[in-house]
């Protein structure tokens, strides 16, 4: 290995690690709300990288990803809250949530994945709505989900006596709940990044990319496209399930409102805008789309008040408008995303597009 490159990459990793370590403490100076935003940014990195396997690698348009997130979230909420009086431990619920989400993915994927891709989009979209309708209405005659009110007082993540909620003293540092979750989420995100990288450069990952590029040619060289698409779909779903569980525990509260189609589209937007199939691009997309709206929320409102003396445009709708426009414009002018993989970048340059 080239020593210069080794040195640079070591410094790069060290620097990244230092920034990642310092971030929650820097953010805390602006209040715990910012640490929570940071937590969500990383949770979305995790979610987006899970979806990246489905959309970026295998090229399947999944518009119901949030439904799998919901399955994970409600699994945790139901099995670790006073709602049913159950308080199962994390090592039981998290795999169960992932497993159930995976099962739902297989159930949904097996009839649709042999069809053309755009049918998958519409079926997953419909599935997302079905899940939301059930969550909203399964409070009668037997109260399973507690309907639109959602489930409260959900247990936090805990390992033995170590709880992730509340403040703990470690090595003389006072760590707040959100800060502890931050480190847990960073660890999970690093794990999913490693999985993404390893999959991408593996036999299975190459087969997914081949299917994305040309399904007929992929079949002709012996790839069982249906099984592999199902595998990608189910894996994405499992990641969604895990993220949902953590979300549930971190919030302490879930309700069907958190699992709307818009959430699915937002995660898709992270993958697509950042750079489909390119891991740093997806991370960038997730962070941008989580942090920017918060900046808009805290920035645009006061700015309008200062400039015009009243609210002309509600920041929430502005955020969505920017979202929609960004999707359209990026597809038009940078179809490979804001930060595409180096190969694709080079290709775009060479073909002069």
């Amino acid at each position: 290995m080239n020593f210069g490159r080794f040195f640079r990459s070591t410094v790069g990793i060290g620097l990244t690690a230092a920034i990642l370590l310092a971030l929650p403490f820097v953010a805390a100076t602006g209040g715990q709300a910012w640490v929570r935003i940071l937590d969500f940014a990383i949770l979305y990195v995790f979610l987006a990288l899970g979806l990246n396997i489905v959309v970026g690698l295998a090229g399947l348009l999944d518009l119901g990803y949030i439904a799998f997130y919901a399955v994970g979230a409600y699994t945790w909420a139901l099995l670790a809250s006073p709602h049913f009086g159950l308080h199962w431990p994390i090592w039981a619920i998290l795999p169960l949530g992932a497993g159930l989400a995976c099962f739902a993915g297989v159930l949904l994927g097996s009839p649709t994945l042999k069809l053309r891709g755009d049918y998958l989009a519409i079926v997953t979209l419909g599935f997302g709505e079905i899940v939301r309708i059930f969550l909203n209405n399964l409070n009668a005659p037997i109260n399973v989900t507690n309907g639109p009110q959602g489930i409260t007082l959900i247990d936090p993540v805990s390992f033995g006596a170590f709880k992730f909620s509340g403040t703990t003293q470690i090595f003389g540092f006072a760590l707040s709940g959100p800060q502890k979750y931050y480190f847990l989420l960073v660890a999970l995100a690093i794990l999913v990044i490693i999985i993404n990288i390893r999959l991408q450069n593996s036999r299975i990952g190459r087969a997914w990319q081949a299917i994305r590029e040309d399904e007929i040619a992929a079949k002709a060289i012996g790839i069982n496209t249906r099984n592999l698409k199902l595998l990608a779909f189910a894996m994405g779903a499992s990641f969604g399930g895990v993220a949902g569980g953590i979300f549930s525990a971190m919030q302490g509260f879930v309700s069907p409102e958190s699992f709307s189609l818009l959430e699915s589209i937002m995660i898709l937007a992270m993958v697509v805008l950042g750079g489909m199939g390119h891991i740093p691009g997806v991370i960038l997309g997730a962070v941008l789309l989580t942090v920017l709206p918060e900046v808009l929320r805290y920035g645009v409102g006061p700015l309008q008040m200062a400039m015009f003396g009243k609210m002309l445009v509600d920041p929430e709708s502005l955020r969505m408008l920017v979202f929609g426009l960004a999707l359209v414009l990026v597809m038009r002018f940078k179809p490979a995303g804001l930060w595409p993989s180096p190969e694709r970048q080079r290709e775009l340059k060479e073909t002069g597009k």
């Binding site: 390893r198 036999r203 590029e213 060289i221 694709r344």
Partner: protein
């Protein structure tokens, strides 16, 4: 007809296929022997590509069937045909454009390798060894078709001739017993065609049986051991080039009597 040909690799028996009222293949029977280069020619619309697609599992024949390597070929899924040892290239090249040339060939090893998701995640010794073998084989194949210096380039950025070669390398990566080339010389100039000829001849000498569908009659007659002619979906003749060339029906089919 070809009742007792020695050492058959692929036998087609009365293969029929129709699209609506159009009979694209009428009971076509032919035999490809191990180790030969077998040419399939015919005017446009004669049913060559339909035959090809039936054999490689893209279409399900309406009648008849294939025996491949001593066992019936159940032609309903292309991936199964590839697993049995039939590899193909496409008339209008179909590469994985946004993957590098090397990756294109590496995907070709899919059907002969085993690593799964868990192997990829945990990078155990077996997976690592298999991955290294895949890479080495792919590099060797790129050498074999002489485009090793383009290994790191995206397939879509290769020149036309190199894309043809890459597609052949990808097909060879599946360790085929029978390599089917669908009009590989289409769009090539004389020099490129000559190089392709050498490549195909070399592949055969290295032990792979070849089915060649071609428009370029000169290339087929010069290269193939035996040639079959299709016209209006039916087999006109199957014989050595010298005989086929002189056959009155073939001349008529081509001149459009």
């Amino acid at each position: 007809m070809n009742v007792n040909l020695p050492n058959p690799l692929l036998e087609a028996k009365a293969v029929a296929k129709h699209f609506g009222g159009v009979k694209a293949l009428r009971d076509v029977s032919l035999t490809i022997r191990r180790g030969e280069i077998y040419g399939l020619i015919g005017p446009n619309g004669a049913g060559k590509t339909t035959f090809f697609n039936c054999m490689t599992g893209l279409y399900v024949p309406d009648g008849g069937g294939f025996t491949f390597d001593g066992a019936p070929l159940i032609a309903d899924a292309p991936d199964k045909a590839a697993a049995r040892g039939i590899a193909r290239t496409f008339q209008n090249i179909r590469l994985f454009g946004n993957m590098t040339a090397l990756e294109n060939v590496m995907v070709g090893r899919h059907v002969r390798t085993k690593a799964g998701v868990l192997g990829a995640m945990f990078q155990n010794a077996a997976t690592k060894a298999e991955e290294a073998a895949i890479r080495q084989k792919a590099i060797d194949l790129l050498h074999y078709v002489r485009i090793e210096e383009r290994a790191g380039d995206l397939a879509r950025n290769l020149s036309y001739g190199d894309q043809r070669r890459l597609e052949i390398a990808r097909a060879l990566a599946t360790d085929p017993k029978l390599l089917c080339l669908d009009e590989p010389a289409a769009g090539m100039n004389a020099t490129e065609t000559e190089q392709l000829r050498d490549l195909i001849d070399g592949i055969r000498r290295d032990g792979t049986t070849i089915l060649l569908i071609e428009h370029d009659v000169k290339l087929v007659m010069g290269l193939c051991d035996r040639v079959a002619v299709l016209d209006y979906g039916a087999l006109v003749i199957e014989d050595v080039p010298a005989v086929v060339q002189k056959d009155q029906r073939v001349i008529e089919a081509y001149l459009g009597a």
